[in-house]
Assembly symmetry: C2
């Protein structure tokens, strides 16, 4: 596989085709490669574009490849896989045994790519990265890990869940965003030099578009360097999320179990979900995101709460009191 | 068509689904709608994403639609059309008669979408927008015009070639970028309120991604407002391009004919094309973009020169002298 990539991407090293390649872009790509312990990284316009461009290009250009995609993968990964038109299998969410069953259905000689996320954005649950990589290795499959909701937020240097869990060296490709914890906009993939040069030479979504403005690249670079050296924000972030979950549960609000900083509160109805948010904004001046279909399946409509390190105990209390009031007002069900 | 769009996009007016909707985003969208004389506009992450998301969504979601695409359309339009998997016809570049022949092959009852650009980025030639719209109208087809290389640069208020040519009201959709004349990053489409709400509700590349940073939206807004009121930059830009073309021709350099600010110089060989740019940079400290396959067809490799209003006569002379020197050094052919 590395040989195929190396032959097809040869000579592309380190540049953009036409222009838009500044010193700060190269520094940012080096910093991202270092963050994830990879040879190289490549910046795209957004995390969505990184997934769409990288997956559609890899799965279209590598002859005979079969893609294995977690059932809960983000829309941008689904777009990339669909747009490649490669043969694909959907395996059960976070289920290594089902992934093995799917891989076993494809002849050993065909190249394979297994795609999954670390933190899933709507339920806040976390993938068993090592186990999924074990299964992929057993079948000689490449792995593509989306760390969009974990970069900067998990791991001793902010490298994500893979770093936290000691398995950062295992995925073939790690994908992330500059638009969440890192505070700007843009996305990237990190991998071998051959893979990065292959995408640089073959991904239309990288080649035929405007490069990230240098000021944004510099902002992301500063954020990564800060979060590599400082764990204070990560520690506080986790404590804020734990406090919020505990206080919601104590108030009898139906907080969904989650091992991450993403704190979903189940409503189960799109009209009520919107009504809760409207009331919360109008009566308590708190803005919370209503998450309805198509972002989550119908019947699982929810609020998605994501506290930051800078939310105070008073902020959390105000939210819990406000939500309790709206719950009473709209006669919603309390958790048992 | 409008009815289909209205029914499917109903209730979406003016918002982003989850967050990222600031006052400046709405102001920018209103300003863009006004610039192109449309009811509404919608901002995307880039011009590439605007084309990919809008075309793939329109051509996937409108039942039975057939797409007619100019042979020289940009990679981002091709991506959108391919990703929709709609039936498509490629018509000869800038050829209304061939468009008519293609349209005539499809039953009258099927919805149709004709896609083309105003200024083509690699040859610098300009579409006969009115004639193409005449043909489209005759067959009841919608039209989608990419003004990426013309917004800000042409028309009394910078509305593009369609404005300059008095046909701005004719295309169903006008697409543009914030990343060229307007100096930031991002892309957009402008059209009817129903069409914009339809895309807002159905385009994954709009829904599942990060909104443009407000500072960039504010920068684009200021640029549009300035260029609506000032034609000085546009006038100077055209004079600079005319001077450059004249001086290249006088020096016997093979400048390709172009009615726009894009000034291509033919090389016809990828290795020489790169060598010319390298020599120009090393010997004369001038950076020019070598354009090779896949951006242009093999055998038409070229330099692409795009003077700005701020390039001086001295800058142009230095470029022509430097290119002449490199031409002699590499024993390249002069224009006859």
């Amino acid at each position: 596989m590395e040989e195929t990539l190396r032959a097809a991407g040869a000579g592309a090293g380190g540049t953009r085709n036409i222009s838009g390649n500044s010193h700060v872009h190269l520094m940012l790509e080096q910093e991202l490669a270092d963050l994830h312990g990879r040879e190289a990284a490549l910046i795209f316009t957004s995390g969505y574009v990184a997934n769409d461009a990288a997956l559609s290009t890899l799965a279209r250009e590598l002859p005979g490849i079969v893609v294995f995609s977690d059932a809960y993968n983000h829309a941008s990964m689904i777009a990339g896989i669909r747009n490649s038109r490669a043969e694909k299998y959907i395996f059960r969410h976070n289920d290594p045994a089902d992934l093995a069953r799917c891989l076993d259905r494809v002849p050993a000689g065909r190249p394979k790519l297994v795609c999954f996320e670390s933190v899933y954005s709507m339920d806040g649950d976390i993938a068993p990265i090592g186990e999924l990589c074990d299964v992929a290795d057993r079948f000689g499959a490449m792995t593509y890990l989306d760390e969009v909701h974990a970069v900067g937020l998990y791991g001793p240097r902010g490298g994500g869940i893979a770093e936290r869990d000691g398995v950062m060296h295992r995925p073939t490709v790690i994908q992330g965003t500059l638009g969440k914890a890192l505070g700007t906009i843009g996305g990237y993939i990190a991998g071998s030099a051959a893979l990065v040069d292959f995408l640089r030479s073959h991904a239309p979504g990288f080649i035929f578009t405007t490069s990230l403005p240098p000021a944004l690249a510099a902002g992301a670079l500063a954020a990564i360097r800060h979060l590599k050296a400082s764990s204070a924000e990560r520690d506080l972030h986790q404590r804020r999320a734990a406090t919020l979950k505990r206080r919601l549960a104590e108030a009898g609000l139906p907080v969904m179990p989650s091992p991450s900083h993403i704190v979903p509160v189940l409503i189960g109805d799109p009209v009520l979900c919107k009504a809760v948010c409207d009331e919360l904004l109008q009566r308590h001046r708190i803005y919370v995101q209503p998450i309805n279909y198509p972002t989550v399946p119908r019947g699982t409509e929810r609020l998605r709460l994501t506290p930051t390190p800078l939310h105070s105990d008073a902020d959390i209390e105000a939210l819990v009191v406000g939500l309790s009031d709206v719950w009473t007002q709209l006669t919603l069900r309390r958790a048992s």
